[in-house]
């Protein structure tokens, strides 16, 4: 498979020219190709937002659900057919705002899927309101005097919630991002990949340039050990002149599905649903 094979060719892509979402799209297709995944075995699940449109642009199965609710259907899809590769895409408002509850609970379950969050630190599709990752002081249409709430730290939340793979990428570095998506998919368990995705229209602070000047790659730092929780805890708080990208944390833990004896004989939907419940009926006799 080549990245081009995943192209959804009939329609025009509807993001603003220069949007960071293009980088994520490209990296995803690269990663699928590198991993040799068949289009029909991938399900891309998303919520609503500029980010949420991504499944439209790739020739895989797609599920563009409700704003904030990408993870619940994704989990169910995985549970009923664990032969599928489930990749979930969300916005920062979508995934960390309205979808926060699902986010935390998904991580503790540790189902095998990759969760990519297009973190542009703004509500794009609704025209520029503050999101849960907007920085303090930032002036947006919903905070004309500046944000006064501390932004959330998705990586720290993931670390605190037993996510078993935690990464961060940058839509301006597609090669690196491709590799992260590949690793995230390959990881057995729940993988969170937060991606800096500049919104060229509504976020004039966290631009491509902003990140180009600040990001550095953890894998280039020999001493960094992503299996060390304490190290991860400290590094996840680094923000300012230098901002780390790469794999911040990983660990091995059995996945949810692997602990279900029901799946020993294969995916649920391949099992015959016709069953004899006579024994159960006896309990009511």
């Amino acid at each position: 498979m080549k990245p081009l094979d995943y192209n959804q060719s009939e329609h025009e892509i509807q993001w603003c020219p220069g949007c960071g979402d293009f980088g994520i799209l490209l990296a995803a297709k690269n990663a699928y190709a590198n991993l040799g995944l068949k289009p029909e075995n991938i399900v891309m699940v998303s919520g609503i937002g500029c980010s949420g449109k991504i499944p439209h642009y790739v020739k895989t199965y797609g599920f563009e659900g409700l704003h904030g609710r990408a993870l619940p259907p994704a989990q169910a899809i995985k549970l009923v057919n664990n032969e599928l590769e489930v990749v979930v895409f969300a916005g920062d408002g979508d995934g960390y705002g309205i979808g926060m509850g699902h986010f935390i609970h998904s991580m503790r379950r540790n189902m095998d899927m990759l969760y990519v969050v297009h973190n542009n630190q703004v509500y794009g599709l609704t025209k520029g309101q503050a999101s849960p990752t907007t920085e303090v002081g930032a002036k947006t249409s919903s905070t004309p005097k500046g944000v006064i709430e501390a932004p959330i730290n998705p990586l720290l939340l993931a670390l605190s919630s037993n996510a078993t793979w935690i990464g961060r990428g940058f839509a301006g570095d597609i090669k690196h991002l491709t590799s992260l998506i590949e690793q995230g998919i390959a990881h057995k368990g729940f993988a969170l990949l937060d991606v800096f995705q500049p919104c060229v229209t509504y976020n004039k602070i966290n631009t491509f340039q902003f990140f180009q000047q600040r990001v550095y790659k953890l894998e280039e730092e020999k001493a960094y050990d992503p299996t060390n929780k304490l190290m991860a805890f400290e590094r996840m708080q680094e923000w300012g002149e230098k901002i780390p990208i790469g794999v911040l944390y990983k660990e091995d833990r059995p996945t949810y599905e692997d602990q279900l004896p029901q799946l020993a004989s294969g995916p649920l939907i391949k099992q015959n649903p016709k069953r004899d419940i006579s024994e159960l009926l006896k309990a009511f006799a």
């Binding site: 009939e10 329609h11 068949k38 289009p39 029909e40 075995n41 399900v43 699940v45 609503i48 449109k53 499944p55 439209h56 020739k59 895989t60 199965y61 797609g62 599920f63 563009e64 659900g65 409700l66 609710r69 993870l71 619940p72 259907p73 994704a74 989990q75 169910a76 899809i77 549970l79 009923v80 057919n81 032969e83 599928l84 509850g101 699902h102 609970h105 279900l260 004896p261 029901q262 004989s265 649920l268 939907i269 099992q271 649903p273 016709k274 069953r275 004899d276 419940i277 006579s278 159960l280 009926l281 009511f284 006799a285």
Partner: protein, 590 residues
């Protein structure tokens, strides 16, 4: 008092096994060939409060308990205070003298006071306090001269998992109750006897919630997600128990939003999926219900009604969510709404509507309530062979690729515009037909569209499904004599009280028939008009304050009911509610 007809009620604090003992006594009689129906009442508390279970036992079929009993078992004083008026003259009250300093006979002299020193017996036999209910049950059997072995068997079955020691203790203590009652001077004065019938029937014995779970299992449900909420939690817990045995996945979710969105995902991926909740949880499912509509996903949602608004009365019953579930979610999307009328329908209709969900690719709402969900009755054993699994237009990979070839499609048209409104579907994993399933309005391939004609084509296509569906579902059902001067119209769980009232009134020489609706939306307007043309006077009976079903009928037929019997205090209809109202009406109309 008729032999072999016993209405029995037990009352006490929560935590004193009021519900489980109701099951035990019911089983003892059911195994003796009797028909039984049992109705538990309890507050939203874990301990304390006033709990009761009423059981009606008869050699003839019974539908509903009522507010009269031949025997009341009072495990505490409060039960006497609250429930004494229900005892019919000549009836008996089994009580514990240690609750009283004075003889309670002065409270009512027209009933028999059967003193059973339960607290003392428990102490003497080193039993636990909770076992007083077992003594009382034994005493009941003694009082009506029912063979003790029947109770012993029921105890053995009920406690099978607890081991021989527990069984022995319970049997011992029940027997003491039995003997004490039988030998008491008063017992001789009590005229009612219960004798096992000749050919015992092989009844099942269960409530509507259990039947729903069984029906879903027979229908091949594969994925169940839910968040506990009274009165539907038991359906979820039943699934938790059997998931590994039957190849089902049960997922308890973080909330109802997740549950509903999950079953949508599961349905998209090809599984039969169900959730169960109550009105509050359903409120959180409303958004995803519309999503299931636009995505054309077959899902089944059990909505067990309890009185609202809001948290309301968690452990009581209601029929207050009808119009809500019919019009829930923004915009307009097709759905099927039904409310089973008895435990049999809970099983068979559940199994059936999984097929309808698949056939029309839309959500089904099974409107239950606490009353039908938790009232247990004896029914003919369910016949699994009657259940067929029909997945509708779900294409195999071969069928899908053939279809694409035949139609010359380069892209699979998941939402193809068809006459029936139904489009063949594929599931992820099918080669060659990846498509996007989207909550946006879309064209036939799933691609987002805002073009006027495509929007309208999809909207119409979806709504068109209701036409076929309307054809596939049955209209209302008649019970009773055709030419009755008065017809009770009712829906869902109210049927049991209506049928019982019909029988009770027949005994008084009053003729009545019942027109009952199980399928509620889409609405069978033509059949309803025809049916109502046969009526003389109509009494609409439903468990809400605004006569929601009557509104529905008027919306779709223009027909207005003039007489209503509405109840919204959390109690189900009891037959005498209807009996009294009918008598009132008949007097007035004379």
């Amino acid at each position: 008092m008729k032999p072999n007809h016993l209405r029995w009620k037990i009352g006490g604090q929560a935590g004193y096994g009021i519900m489980s003992i109701g099951q035990t006594i019911s089983r003892a009689f059911s195994r003796g060939g009797f028909f039984v129906v049992g109705y538990p009442e309890y507050p939203s508390l874990i301990r304390g409060g006033h709990n009761t279970t009423a059981v009606r036992i008869s050699e003839d079929p019974v539908f509903s308990v009522d507010h009269k009993v031949e025997v009341l078992v009072a495990l505490n004083k409060e039960t006497v205070e609250v429930d004494l008026p229900e005892v019919i003259p000549g009836g008996a009250v089994i009580y514990d003298p240690s609750d009283y300093t004075e003889d309670p006979i002065k409270l009512r002299s027209d009933v028999l006071w059967v003193a059973i020193p339960m607290t003392q017996i428990v102490k003497e036999h080193t039993g636990e306090r909770v076992m007083r209910n077992m003594i009382a049950t034994g005493a009941t059997m003694g009082l009506v001269h029912y063979p003790f072995e029947r109770l012993e068997t029921a105890i053995r079955e009920g406690f099978a998992k607890k081991g021989e020691e527990v069984i022995a203790k319970n049997v011992e203590i029940a027997r003491i109750g039995y003997e004490t009652a039988k030998e008491s001077a008063i017992a001789g004065k009590f005229p009612l006897t219960m004798t096992p019938v000749e050919k015992p029937r092989s009844h099942l014995f269960l409530g509507g919630n259990s039947a729903i779970a069984l029906g879903a299992l027979s229908a091949g449900v594969q994925f169940v997600a839910g968040y506990p909420m009274t009165p539907s939690s038991s359906i979820l817990m039943d699934m938790a128990k059997v998931e590994q045995r039957y190849g089902v996945i049960f997922k308890q979710t973080e909330d109802e939003l997740a549950a509903m969105n999950m079953i949508c995902g599961a349905a998209f991926a090809g599984a039969r999926a169900l959730t169960a909740t109550s009105g509050g949880g359903f409120s959180l499912m409303v958004e995803a219900l519309g999503m299931a509509g636009i995505m054309e996903l077959p899902v089944v949602v059990v909505e067990g009604q309890r009185p609202g608004p809001s948290t309301g009365l968690p452990t009581w019953t209601s029929q207050g969510d009808l119009l809500f579930v019919i019009s829930a979610s923004q915009g307009e999307s097709p759905r099927l709404v039904l409310a089973p009328g008895d435990v049999n329908e809970c099983y068979y209709e559940t199994a059936k509507v999984f097929n309808l969900a698949d056939k029309y690719q839309l959500p089904v709402i099974l409107l239950m309530d606490k009353h039908i969900g938790e009232t247990y009755v004896s029914v003919e054993p369910f016949d699994q062979n009657k259940v067929q699994i029909e997945r509708g237009q779900l294409l195999s990979p071969e069928q899908a690729s053939k279809m694409m070839q035949d139609k010359g499609w380069t892209q699979f048209k998941r939402h193809e515009v068809t006459d029936s409104g139904v489009s063949p579907r594929v599931i992820p994993g099918t080669p060659g037909s990846p498509y996007i399933c989207s909550s946006y309005e879309h064209d036939e391939t799933g691609w987002t569209t805002e073009e006027s004609d495509k929007v309208k084509a999809q909207y119409d296509k979806r709504m068109r499904k209701l036409e076929g569906l309307l054809h596939d579902i049955p209209g209302p059902t008649w019970f009773g004599p055709e030419d009755a001067p008065l017809t009770v119209v009712c829906w869902g769980s109210t049927r049991t009280a209506a049928l019982q009232a019909m029988e009770d009134l027949a005994a008084d020489g009053i003729m009545l028939n019942v027109l009952h609706f199980t399928y509620l939306f889409p609405f069978k307007a033509a059949e309803t008009i025809t049916a109502l043309q046969k009526t003389q006077q109509v009494l609409n009976v439903e468990g809400n304050a605004t006569a929601q079903f009557a509104q529905l009928v008027r919306t779709h037929t223009g027909i207005e009911f003039e007489q209503h019997l509405l109840k919204y205090d959390g109690r189900p209809f009891f037959p005498e509610d209807i009996v009294n109202k009918v008598k009132d009406l008949l007097i007035k109309s004379k």
